[in-house]
C-alpha cells in the first residue's frame, strides 16, 4: 500500500490545532479503499491531521485515531509509531484524534473502529509515520551540523552525530517540520523490534483507569452543562403521540422539557432530578408498525422466509448430484436468538448545539459519521460540528451506531443549552441494535466413511448492513451476514452450495462483536461435530482430515484471510489437542468439545471442558485456546483480548436472549438479561499463541464466536444432548436430542 505524503498537511494541522508553534506534525493520506462509510456519510471532512506531534518541549504526542473500548488501541497503536520514531513509549502523550480523512481505516473505508481492523490497518501505516518523522528529524540535525544524514543515529528522542553532537527531537522539531517528507521509508525488520512484541509492555491507560481519572463519555463536564433523562417509546419503531409534562416542569431543578425525534427529554440541573421528573411524564405512545410483534409471530416469519431460495454466495461442483451419490445425508437446523450488546457504560452524549457551531463529546466507535448526522439533525453544516471522542466503557459494536449522539444534539438544540444526555440501563437494553436472530440449515452428503462430500447451507436472518451501509449489500447478499462460512475451511469434493435469505423482522439489528461469525460459524462448527459423531470419528482428527489445503480466493471474505488457511488450522488443531489434554478420561458428566475458525485473518482452535448436571446446568471448567494471529504487537493485551472474547461469547451462548412482546423488548437490566459473573467464568483459561512473523490478524472479535460451538460440543460430549437452539439453557439443552 503506497502512502502519498503531503507536505502541506502540517500547516493545516498547526492552524487547526494551535499546537506548539514550530512543532512537527505529519499526516498521511491513503489511496482509495472500499470507502463504504465515506460514500454513505457523504464526504466533507474536517482539515487533515497528523499522527505524530513533537513539541519544542520534547513532548511527543501520538494521535490514536481508533476508539479505546478495552481492546488496547491506546497502547498498541502508539507502540507502532514509537518503534520507528525511537522514543520511549512510556513517556509519550496520547490523544484521541478528531474526525478527518487522514484517519480513515483503509480496511473499512471510514474512521470507524470495528471489524478487528485497528492494528491490521495501522501495521505499516503507523510505523511509516514514525519512520518518516525520525528521518525528517535526522535530516534537520544533519543540515544544522553540515554532515551526512547517514552519519547520524537516533536513540530515545535524541539525534546523535559525528564528534559527540547531540540534539533533542524537541530542539529539532521546528526545523524538521520544514524538511522534505521522505518518499521512500524503509521499515525495521522484525528482528530489530524493541517495542513491538515486548512481553512486558504495560498499557498506557491503566493508571488512569485504576485511579478513576480516565474520562469516559458519561464523565464529561463542560461549563453551563445540564443533564437530560429521556423517555423513549417502549415499542420498537414507536413514536410519541402526545404528552403531559405539567408535573415534570414543576420539579425544582428542572430547566425544561423538550420533545425530540425519538422521545421526550427532561433537562435539569442534575441527572437525578431529570430522571425523577422524567418518570412523571404522562406520555401517550403511538405504538407504530410493530405493535403486535411477539416471538411466536417473529419466528414464524423467519421460518417462512427460510423456505425461500435466497441468494447463493458460494457454490462449486454439483451439490445435488453429490447428495444423490452420498452414502448418507444428514440434516440439521440451528436457531440463534437476538442478543444485546450491553456495554457497562450506558449510551450517553454531551452536546452543545449553538446557532453556528456544535460540540459533541461522545463515546463513539464511528466519529467520522457524527458531523454528518448531527448536521442533518440541527441544520448546521458538517464542518461546524466538532467531535471529541472519550474513552468508551465498552463498545462491542453498539457504538458504531450514532443514534444517541443525534438524540443529544436534538435535545441540546431544543433546550438551547449544553446537555449531557444519559440513558438508564433500561433505556440502553431496550433500545439496542441487537445481534440478528436467525435459522441456519445444513444438509450434508457423506460417503461410507462419514467424510463430507456435499454440503448445502441456507441461512435466514435480518441484514444489518441494509440499514447501516446499504451500498455494500449486493444481489441480496450482505457481506456481514455470510462471514464465518463464506470462508468454509473444509473440502466437499462433490459440491457445496451456500445461500442467504435476508429477512427483516422489525427488530433493529446491529453489528455485535464478531458479527455473523457468531451465527454462521457457531452453527457450522456445531454441525461439523454432528458429522464427526455420525462418522464415529474423533472430532479433532475428523476436522484435520477434511481441511481445505488449497488457495481458492473467497468472494465475500472482506475482513478474513480471503483464502483457505488449511495449514494454519491444522497446526492450531494439533496444538490444541496437545495443550488441552484432549481425549483423556474424564469423570461422568464432564466432556470436551472442539471448534476451529478463521476470522479477521486469525485462526483459533479452542477446546472447552464442561460439566453438565442431570438437570442440564452447565459449568465451564476450562477453555484451552491456540491462536495464530500473526505478529503480536502487544502480546499481553493480545492475550487479554482472547480472555475477553471467551467471556463475551460465554455470556451470549449460555444466557443471551432478547425477546419481544407487543413490539417491546422484554429484558431491561442485568436481572432479566444474564451475563457472566466472576463465579461463572471458566475456572481455567489456557491460552497459547503460535509464534509467527506474518502480518497481524485481528483479535478483538474472533474468539467470541469460536468459544460458543466449543462449549456446545462439550455439552454434547458431557451429556449426549446436542443443543441446536441457543442459548444453552437447561431448557434448551433438555429439549434437544
Amino acid at each position: 500500500m503506497a502512502n502519498i505524503v503531503k507536505n502541506e498537511t502540517r500547516r493545516d494541522f498547526l492552524k487547526v490545532s494551535g499546537t506548539v508553534a514550530g512543532g512537527l506534525a505529519l499526516g498521511f493520506y491513503l489511496p482509495s479503499g472500499p470507502r463504504m462509510a465515506q460514500a454513505d456519510a457523504g464526504g466533507g471532512y474536517a482539515s487533515p491531521n497528523a499522527w505524530v506531534r513533537i513539541g519544542l518541549d520534547n513532548v511527543v504526542t501520538i494521535m490514536v485515531a481508533r476508539s479505546e473500548m478495552g481492546q488496547d488501541v491506546y497502547t498498541s497503536m502508539p507502540m507502532l509509531v514509537a518503534e520507528e520514531l525511537e522514543v520511549d513509549i512510556n513517556k509519550i502523550k496520547v490523544e484521541f484524534a478528531p474526525p478527518a480523512e487522514v484517519y480513515i481505516n483503509a480496511l473499512l473505508g471510514g474512521q470507524l473502529t470495528g471489524g478487528s481492523t485497528s492494528v491490521r490497518d495501522a501495521w505499516e501505516k503507523l510505523r511509516k509515520a514514525g519512520a518518516s518523522a525520525r528521518m525528517m528529524l535526522i535530516a534537520a540535525a544533519a543540515d544544522d551540523w553540515g554532515v551526512d544524514t547517514g552519519s547520524c543515529k537516533v536513540k530515545d528522542g535524541v539525534v546523535m552525530g559525528p564528534g559527540g553532537k547531540r540534539a533533542s527531537y524537541g530542539s529539532l522539531a521546528a526545523k524538521a517540520s520544514q524538511m522534505e517528507v521522505p518518499r521512500d521509508v524503509p521499515l525495521k525488520p522484525a528482528s530489530q523490534f524493541k517495542i513491538v512484541g515486548n512481553m512486558r509492555q504495560k498499557r498506557l491507560d491503566t493508571a488512569a483507569k485504576v485511579r478513576g481519572t480516565a474520562q469516559f463519555g458519561i464523565d464529561t463536564r463542560i461549563p453551563g452543562m445540564t443533564y437530560a433523562a429521556v423517555r423513549m417509546p417502549p415499542m420498537i419503531g414507536g413514536k410519541v403521540a402526545s404528552y403531559d409534562d405539567s408535573r415534570a416542569k414543576n420539579f425544582p431543578g428542572v430547566k425544561t422539557v423538550v420533545q425530540y425525534s425519538r422521545g421526550v427529554a427532561v433537562v435539569a440541573e442534575d441527572y437525578w432530578t431529570a430522571k425523577k421528573a422524567a418518570a412523571t411524564l404522562d406520555i401517550r405512545w403511538d405504538a407504530g408498525p410493530n405493535a403486535n410483534l411477539d416471538m411466536r409471530g417473529l419466528w414464524q416469519g423467519i421460518e417462512q422466509a427460510s423456505a425461500q431460495p435466497g441468494a447463493v454466495f458460494r457454490e462449486h461442483g454439483d451439490t445435488d448430484a453429490g447428495m444423490m451419490n452420498a452414502a448418507k445425508t444428514i440434516t440439521s437446523e440451528y436457531r440463534l436468538p437476538f442478543v444485546s450488546h450491553s456495554p457497562m457504560e450506558p449510551m450517553n452524549t454531551t452536546a452543545d448545539v449553538r446557532g453556528d457551531k456544535a460540540t459533541i463529546i461522545t463515546p463513539t466507535q464511528f466519529q467520522q459519521l457524527i458531523p454528518h448526522v448531527v448536521a442533518g439533525a440541527t441544520g448546521l453544516k458538517p464542518e461546524q460540528v466538532e467531535v471529541i471522542t472519550t474513552f468508551l466503557g465498552g463498545g462491542f459494536g453498539r457504538r458504531v451506531e450514532v443514534d444517541y449522539a443525534i438524540d443529544a444534539a436534538e435535545i441540546s438544540k431544543a433546550a438551547g443549552m449544553p446537555v449531557k444526555m444519559v440513558w438508564s440501563r433500561e433505556d440502553d437494553m431496550t433500545h439496542d441494535s441487537y445481534r440478528p436472530a436467525g435459522i441456519y440449515k445444513f444438509t450434508a452428503g457423506v460417503d461410507s466413511s462419514g467424510k463430507l462430500q456435499a454440503l448445502r447451507f441456507h441461512s435466514t436472518s435480518p441484514s444489518i448492513s441494509s440499514r447501516l451501509f446499504p451500498s455494500v449489500v449486493k444481489d441480496g447478499i450482505d457481506p456481514f451476514a455470510v462471514e464465518g462460512i463464506d470462508n468454509f475451511p473444509y473440502t466437499a469434493d462433490a459440491g457445496l452450495r451456500f445461500s442467504y435469505q435476508m429477512h427483516d423482522t422489525g427488530v433493529t439489528v446491529g453489528y455485535w462483536r464478531a458479527v455473523s461469525h457468531n451465527l454462521n460459524a457457531v452453527a457450522l462448527e456445531s454441525f461439523i461435530d454432528e458429522l464427526a459423531t455420525a462418522a464415529g470419528k474423533d472430532p479433532i482428527q475428523y476436522r484435520i482430515d477434511m481441511l481445505d489445503m488449497g488457495s481458492t480466493k473467497h468472494q465475500w471474505s472482506g475482513l478474513s484471510a480471503g483464502v483457505p488457511v488449511g495449514p494454519r488450522m491444522k497446526r492450531a488443531l494439533e496444538e490444541v489437542r496437545k495443550k488441552s489434554g484432549w481425549g483423556r478420561k474424564l469423570p461422568k458428566g464432564r466432556g470436551q468439545g472442539v471448534a476451529v475458525m478463521e476470522g479477521y485473518n486469525t485462526v483459533i482452535a479452542m477446546v472447552a471442558e464442561v460439566t453438565v448436571s442431570s438437570g442440564y446446568d452447565v459449568q465451564i471448567d476450562k477453555i484451552t485456546a491456540v491462536v495464530d494471529a500473526g505478529t503480536l504487537i502487544h502480546p499481553d493485551q493480545a492475550l487479554a483480548q482472547v480472555q475477553s472474547c471467551i467471556n463475551y461469547g460465554q455470556s451470549a451462548c449460555m444466557w443471551g436472549e432478547i425477546t419481544v412482546k407487543n413490539g417491546a423488548v422484554e429484558q431491561n437490566n442485568f436481572d432479566t438479561y444474564r451475563v457472566a459473573r466472576i463465579n461463572e467464568a471458566p475456572k481455567e483459561l489456557n491460552i497459547h499463541f503460535i509464534k509467527s512473523d506474518s502480518v497481524p490478524g485481528g483479535l478483538g472479535e474472533p474468539g467470541t464466536a469460536v468459544v460458543q460451538p466449543a462449549i456446545a460440543n462439550a455439552i454434547f460430549a458431557a451429556s449426549g444432548k446436542r443443543p441446536r437452539t441457543l442459548p444453552y439453557t437447561p431448557e434448551n439443552i433438555g429439549a434437544s436430542t
Binding site: 478495552g70 491503566t206 485504576v210 478513576g212 442534575d270 433500561e426 480472555q643 466472576i678
Partner: protein
C-alpha cells in the same frame, strides 16, 4: 435540605433531595466521577463505594441515610493502595469502566479477609459485572494484593 458527611476524609455538605442516590451526589454534585453508573438497581456493582469501610452500591444508597457517615470512593483509595498496585501490575482493566467498582469491592474484601480463597473471591465479587472479561485477572490481582503490605 443540607446533608453533611465525609468523603475521602474531607467533611462536606450537599443541598439535595434526601432520596437522591449517593452515586449522583458523588458524580454530579461533588464531581467525583470515578464512581460509575451501570444499572441503577444494585445489579452490576459499577457504583460500589465504601460506607464506613463496608462496600455498598451507591446507586441504592440514599444520601439522606449517609448523613454524618464516612464515604470512600476510588479517588479516596489513594492511588497507591495495594489493590490499585496489583491492578496496575497485572494490567487488569480493559475498557476500565467497571474497575473502580471492582477495586472498591476487592479492597473491602481484603479488609475483612486477609487471604481470600477462590470461593471467597467468587462469593464477594460476584456482584460486580465486567463485560470485557477481566475476571481471570481480577482473581489474580486480588491474590497478588493479598500478599502485598
Amino acid at each position: 435540605m443540607k446533608i453533611a458527611f465525609q468523603v475521602n476524609g474531607k467533611r462536606t455538605s450537599v443541598d439535595v433531595a434526601p432520596d437522591t442516590p449517593l452515586l449522583w451526589v458523588l458524580r454530579d454534585t461533588l464531581g467525583l466521577t470515578g464512581t460509575k453508573f451501570g444499572c441503577g438497581k444494585a445489579l452490576c456493582g459499577a457504583c460500589t463505594v465504601h460506607l464506613n469501610g463496608m462496600a455498598v452500591r451507591s446507586c441504592q444508597t440514599q444520601i439522606g441515610s449517609v448523613a454524618g457517615q464516612k464515604v470512600t470512593t476510588i479517588e479516596g483509595l489513594g492511588g497507591n493502595h495495594r489493590v490499585q498496585r496489583a491492578w496496575m501490575a497485572l494490567d487488569v482493566p480493559q475498557c476500565g469502566y467497571c474497575q473502580p467498582g471492582q477495586m472498591m469491592s476487592a479492597s473491602a474484601l481484603l479488609a475483612m479477609n486477609k487471604n481470600p480463597s477462590d470461593q471467597d473471591i467468587d462469593a464477594f465479587m460476584s456482584g460486580n459485572i465486567c463485560r470485557c472479561g477481566t475476571y481471570v485477572r481480577i482473581r489474580a490481582a486480588i491474590k497478588a494484593a493479598a500478599k502485598m503490605s
